[in-house]
């Protein structure tokens, strides 16, 4: 007695939602045969973005051999989902490939060449989920790549890991499947009711809801029967047939139907203590927990007038649609358009090369008579049928006018973003206005403008921060310059005072004059150089579009640097010598000797530089490469010695200035250093 499911079950009030339509169901074509398994295709195409959220991040590279069920790409961020290998084989390429998307654009896909062995990787099932913590199970579901199989592809684990998920009182199981043509969920419930129940029980363990409501449209009596049979004796689980009306399969419409509660506009179902899962998702969760199998296949309906054997198949994710269509006996002469999803919310595909993805619940290979091209759009006659049909009680007619005139404020005002794009309004429109397309365009435009203004705001902030930074740097520079000027002024004053007190000023003034002259000359030289360079650049730009730059080999550069260093040293020595001469110091002769030596060096370097410039770069380079370790060592020593000499020289000059008594020792040191330098030079 109690096994009779129609008895002992309390009558549940069904809360009708407003609007809705009754399009031709066309479901019987694909329910005649059980779920079939098509042969393994040779090639799989796996898009990295089969879910809502961020695309997955690739873990394998081209040429890798992978096993069935192995993770190929991991979730990238919180709202994301991994992708697994649907069979064993080799990754042959990663690149752009057409995917089932409205735009017809290509996306990054991984191409897997099957080896035919279909060999599973090692699976890691949960032995007894009842003893396992909820978080661990959530992680399992996440790692198995399970997303909502009903259509939107929202990662299943994200919904249940929300903080509010601890207060779930009702679990809704969505088996309504209101969209015409599609029978994937129907066949799944008929054939896999026990696994579906297993999935429900796992979620009961995890979320601990008070009741579980399985909503199934009453045009699927076999599915209702099958579900009632397995759920018999389960107190908390109830199978509720709902009247057939499109779009009762929308999660929030189904919640309304079963509980009479409406999810607020800016909230999700979890906010009112409910969670809704598609039946296919629950079976996938069961497989993932008890068998450790990731989501690598799904039930997909193949139907349409151009197919000889329409029906449902267990399609591996990544199977090209053409492979499945061939399996279902496609008749090329009939075939006109390929639609993914149903006729209400689905979209046509430009090519049959697209793969099955996690959200592909149906492929319709339609003939021209079945889906004729849309009649031309007529003027809106303000009949109001769209408003009657809208399941959300929106005003599609108003939205249409505002979308057309791009009046975004009014679109917001009329709650455009509550539109679920079910297409009921377009379906009933006597003027055949593609209303949903207007709404989608309006939504996308608003999102686009929002993104644009957000970016503008960010750019503005960056610009202002940069301005601030530049100002701060400029202010700092100015302050430093002022401080330096102040210091110089003070030093000058002090010097002047000292000079006056010493009574000798003629030498100083002449030296200062000479210095000023030299600076002036240098400035003029620089100016002339700049002018010639500018002229040269102009000519070069005019002729080739690119500034001509003298090509110097590293060797030449090095020599040039050495040459300029020697030049500088000569100048310095000369200056010192002239000073010494004036003071009639005994140093003068020694300095003169130094100058001679340096000049010699200079001529030598010049010769070397010319020698290096004359031949092409080719011989110069290997010469450098041929440096032995010994030579290198010598070179380093030489550089060090040079630095030491410079240092000593500086120390000597400072000592001279301050008339220090250490002058003698320092000079001695300088001599030593110079000798060392000469030794090094010889060694090199």
């Amino acid at each position: 007695m109690s096994s009779n499911p129609s008895q002992g079950i309390p009558l549940r009030t069904i809360h009708e939602f407003p609007g809705g339509v009754h399009p031709g169901e066309n479901k019987e074509q694909s329910t005649r045969t059980p779920i079939a398994t098509p042969p393994l295709p040779n090639t799989f195409i796996l898009p990295l973005n089969q879910h809502s959220g961020a695309p997955a991040e690739l873990l394998v590279k081209v040429g890798d051999y992978v096993l069935k069920g192995q993770m190929l790409a991991r979730a990238n961020g919180f709202v994301s989902s991994p992708v697994h290998a649907p069979t064993s084989g080799t990754v042959t390429s990663v690149g752009m490939h057409p995917v089932p998307h409205w735009s017809g654009l290509e996306e990054t896909c991984l191409v897997l060449e099957a080896d035919g062995k279909d060999q599973w990787c090692e699976l890691d099932p949960v032995a007894d989920y009842k003893t396992v913590e909820k978080d661990e199970l959530v992680q399992c579901i996440h790692d198995a790549g399970i997303v909502g199989l009903g259509g939107a592809g929202f990662p299943a684990a994200v919904k249940m890991s929300s903080r509010k998920a601890s207060k779930i009182h009702t679990l809704i199981v969505n088996g309504a499947e209101c969209e015409p043509y599609i029978t994937a969920d129907d066949m799944l419930m008929r054939e896999r009711a026990d696994r579906l129940l297993g999935g429900i029980e796992i979620l009961q363990h995890m979320l601990n809801p008070q009741e579980v409501l399985i909503g199934i449209e009453d045009n699927k009596p076999e599915a209702i029967e099958a579900m009632r049979k397995v759920c018999a004796g389960k107190d908390a689980i109830e199978v509720v047939p709902v009247p057939t009306k499109y779009p009762s399969g929308d999660a929030q419409r189904l919640i309304w139907l079963l509980t009479g509660k409406e999810v607020p506009s800016d909230a999700r179902s979890v906010d009112i203590g409910m969670l809704c899962y598609n039946v296919g998702t629950l079976v996938a969760i069961y497989d993932a927990i008890t068998e450790g199998k990731p989501l690598i296949s799904r039930v997909t309906t193949l139907t349409g007038a151009a197919l000889h054997q329409p029906g449902n198949v267990e399609a591996l994710i990544g199977t090209p649609a053409e492979h499945l269509l061939e399996f279902a006996g496609i008749q090329d002469e009939q075939f006109d358009a390929l639609v993914m999803g149903g006729p209400m919310m689905g979209h046509t595909l430009d090519t049959t090369a697209v793969p099955v993805i996690k959200t592909s619940n149906c492929f319709i290979a339609a003939s021209r008579e079945e889906f004729p091209p849309p009649p031309p759009e007529q003027a809106c006659i303000r009949c109001g049928m769209c408003a009657d049909a809208c399941p959300l009680s929106l005003l599609p007619q108003q939205l249409y006018w505002h979308a057309k005139s791009q009046n975004h404020e009014q679109l917001h005002h009329h709650n455009l973003f509550d539109c679920i794009e079910c297409g009921a309004c377009s379906y009933v429109c006597p003027s055949s206005i593609p209303l949903v397309q207007y709404f989608r365009a309006g939504k996308d435009e608003i999102r686009f403008q929002k993104a644009k203004s957000e970016k503008a705001e960010r750019s503005r902030q960056r610009f202002e921060q940069r301005q601030k930074r530049l100002e701060a740097v400029a202010a700092e520079k100015e302050a430093r310059r002022k401080a330096n000027a102040e210091k110089a002024r003070r030093a000058k004053e002090a010097k002047a005072a000292a000079g006056q007190s010493a009574g000798q000023n003629s030498a100083d003034t002449s030296a200062a004059d000479a210095k000023a002259d030299m600076i002036k000359a240098a400035m003029e030289r620089a100016k002339a150089k700049k002018a010639t360079r500018a002229a040269g650049t102009d000519v070069a730009t005019a002729s080739s579009g690119k500034p001509a730059r003298p090509q110097l080999s590293p060797k030449q550069k090095e020599l040039k640097i050495q040459l300029s260093v020697v030049n500088a040293q000569i100048k310095k020595c000369e200056r010192a010598a002239s000073q010494a001469g004036e003071n009639s110091s005994p140093e003068a002769e020694k300095l003169q000797a130094d100058i001679d030596k340096l000049k010699q060096q200079q001529t030598q370097l010049k010769a070397e530089f010319e020698a290096a410039s004359a031949p092409t770069e080719a011989p110069a380079k290997p010469a450098k490469a041929e440096l032995s370790a010994d030579e290198k060592k010598h070179k380093i020593e030489l550089a060090m010695a040079r630095a030491a000499v410079k240092k000593a020289e500086r120390a000597v000059t400072t000592a001279k200035e301050s008339d220090s008594d250490q002058l003698q020792t320092l000079q001695q040191q300088l001599e030593d250093k110079r000798r060392e330098l000469a030794r090094c030079e010889e060694a090199v």
Partner: protein
């Protein structure tokens, strides 16, 4: 006579009281700067490209507030002109070609193997969207690039290209349905295409 004097006195007292109140309010609730400049600045695209002849978007916003034409912003295009016209209660006008033409959104791209690391582009970028250091290769932070073109000119080796931002499935957007004019068979009883 007395009545008239009382009335006058009363009016005078009221005038003084309200005058003081207004004077106080104008000090207390003083608006800093010109609020219309901020509103205009919010509508400008913030590319900071200088195509309008001003050094940045804000200076142009200030110029508009002082009566300059609103059609000098090519990156903003017609949409910005319309928004500005709406804000300032002017007639929308065509974009002034003198300052450039409306282009699809662009992003700068540095051919990295040609970059010599001179940092000139880094100094030119108004939004610090180029990363690099002296003698190190530079690269553009594409998400922050406003496509303003300012880095192209200073590059001594011409290794910066402006490339249009490619549409992906994430940035693709629906268009409004097209008018079916190409199928229009202009027979009165069988009009194809839209009747407006």
């Amino acid at each position: 006579m007395d009545t008239a004097i009382y009335a006058l006195l009363a009016l005078l007292a009221l005038a003084l009281a309200f005058g003081a109140l207004l004077g106080f309010a104008s000090e207390k609730f003083k608006v800093e700067g010109n609020p219309i400049v901020d509103q205009i600045n919010d509508l400008l695209p913030q590319t900071q490209c200088g195509q309008c002849g001003h050094p940045g978007c804000r200076p142009y916003a200030e110029a508009i507030a002082n009566g300059e034409e609103i059609n000098k912003c090519p990156p903003g295009g017609q949409a910005t002109i319309n928004a500005l016209a709406d804000l300032l209660d002017q007639e929308p006008m065509e974009l002034d070609d003198e300052h450039g033409v409306e282009k699809p959104p662009m992003v700068a791209f540095i051919r990295e193997d040609e970059c010599i690391g001179c940092t000139k582009c880094i100094q030119a970028c108004p939004v610090d969207a180029i990363l690099g250091a002296a003698k190190q290769m530079h690269t553009v932070i594409a998400d922050e690039c406003t496509g303003c073109d300012l880095c192209v000119e200073p590059c001594p080796v011409d290794c910066i290209d402006m490339v249009p931002i490619a549409t992906t499935t994430r940035t693709w957007k629906w268009d409004l349905p097209k008018k079916q004019t190409e199928t229009a068979n202009l027979i009165a009883t069988d009009t194809q295409g839209e009747l407006v």
